[in-house]
Symmetry: C2
Subunit: 327 residues, 2 copies
């Protein structure tokens, strides 16, 4: 390929997804890489560009699982640092932009195809509704972002994964103390993440006097969905109930009349258990404001590539302009 392309990326705590912006303003075929297979993001980027035979990029737009502040971004849940200068030189471009991964998800909603979301709870409010929207991501880490219209779409970044883990019962406090051990405190992310699911599983097993098996989050999820292991099932249910409490709390903070959208690998993987966990009832259990909570629609974003669509909206706010950008 000899023409310069706009490259879109989503750098998570575990995986990185890369794709090229197509003329109609959406990402093309997406390649997914495990971060652990590369020493640095630049190495991964060079590998991808070489495999795709891309000599230079018109622009690189990266959604990153980290607070975006300055030219060197340290990932929250991965040892990588992503440096504007190194990305510019690897991609032979002067045009590099970083955005928080949840902000990218918040930006993608208006362009999400209808088959990229599944309705979970509340009224059916379509993805192109005008009201404020809240995206909540559960993957390697946890975070949220709010998208609102004020002329164009404005996104409010956040670091919600570090908010205090909610506790309402003696059992919840026991779990909180387990997750806080040697850390001083337990944030939301300590339960609502892949690592969180693993630690919740270990706590469930130990609470029953069992020796926890050496299971990954993916294995725990698989056993839970197959109903093959009671500790895995209970861990999944505990995580989903905490997720429901946190989603309800965040809905009170952002009043997302345009809808709540769950995203991220852990949310997608656990989705088959949402109904069994009593997710919708727990999300709306907010005393005098229960009716308000019941008025919000809740969807799951089922497409792994959604954050790249958000990056595409930055590369190309109006799809008809794409041809100029991608040349």
């Amino acid at each position: 390929m000899t023409i310069a392309v706009a490259l879109l990326g989503d750098v998570g705590g575990t995986n990185t997804r890369l794709g090229v912006l197509l003329p109609h303003g959406m990402p093309g075929q997406i390649s997914t890489f495990r971060n652990a297979d590369f020493a640095s993001f630049e190495q991964l980027l060079l590998h991808y560009l070489s495999a795709q035979d891309v000599q230079s990029c018109a622009a690189v737009i990266l959604a990153i699982a980290a607070p975006i502040n300055g030219d060197i971004i340290g990932l929250t849940n991965c040892a990588w640092q992503i440096d504007t200068n190194s990305v510019c030189s690897a991609a032979k471009t002067k045009n590099v932009r970083f955005i928080n991964d949840l902000e990218a998800l918040a930006l993608c909603l208006d362009r999400l195809p209808a088959n990229a979301v599944t309705h979970i709870a509340g009224p059916h409010i379509p993805t192109d509704a005008l009201g404020r929207k809240l995206v909540i991501g559960v993957g390697t880490g946890f975070n949220a972002a709010c998208a609102m219209r004020s002329g164009s779409v404005v996104v409010l970044p956040a670091e919600c994964g570090h908010m205090t883990l909610p506790v309402e019962t003696a059992e919840g406090l026991h779990l909180r103390d387990h997750l806080a051990k040697s850390r001083g405190r337990a944030s939301v992310e300590r339960a609502l993440s892949g690592q969180g699911l693993t630690e919740v599983y270990q706590w469930v097993a130990a609470s029953r006097g069992l020796v926890p098996k050496d299971l990954t989050a993916a294995q725990i999820t698989h056993h839970a969905i197959q109903n093959a292991d009671p500790c895995c099932m209970d861990a999944a249910i505990v995580v989903l109930r905490i997720l429901a409490t946190v989603c309800g709390d965040l809905a009170l903070a952002y009043l997302p009349h345009g809808g709540v959208y769950l995203a991220g690998s852990v949310a997608r993987a656990l989705a088959p258990l949402l109904a069994a966990s009593g997710f919708a009832a727990e999300l709306t259990r907010k005393g005098r404001q229960t009716g308000l909570l019941q008025s919000f629609s809740v969807h799951l974003i089922t497409k792994d590539a959604a954050a790249l669509i958000g990056c595409a909206t930055l590369a190309c706010p109006h799809p008809e302009m794409t041809m100029e950008l991608s040349r």
Copy 2:
């Protein structure tokens, strides 16, 4: 007075403040009324208009401690309903606007005189800084709102008082269970409000095997500040530490680089004990994000009339236009 004036109001759960918009775009002298002295808001309004000899209003702009949704607003912590039609007919105007009281506070910040705020913690970021600002109100109830610039100022409304009360210790869970008794759950507002301070005091006394005295929130605050009663002091400290935890959590949700502003009668009354409570250290105790939290400035809004200044910004976005509006 024969010319029509623009009337500004702040209807809280306990008190209502009314004032007239002056030509320079700020409220004039403010009259404060106890809601309990009037059967309805309309009765209070008629009383005020008659006392001020105002025949009709060009506009009425009311900040109300309630979610604003439709023409009839039910106050969250008061039995009143405020009805657009009744206000129109009482004030002889067709121009009535309701806004959530915390939204009004979020709107006032750019016009707050420097002597209307006291610095509490973090760097000194001035009130006219451009970054996102978070206002947190503790009075009859609890709530927050975020002000951001996107061209003009946009305010994000919220219902944060109904979020889950944070619990991190066995003692905290014991308090949570006390506050949740006969309610099913304990929200933030159950501790962070005037009534909350009273209930926390009763819990502190009972936890020590003492019979709680019949004290109002104002009396508890007074005894605490005078160091005249250990239970009152401890109740105030418990409330301020919970407030710090919640302020830190909300700062993670809104990333207010333009500053955090505390407001409301309970926050103002307890302010002399902020340092003794370890407020700043507790607010920033967020694990890996402690440095981020330490970068936010925290101020207290000391003027009771601040919400009316927010209403004034709606009546008169540009002060030079005021004369037209108030005629």
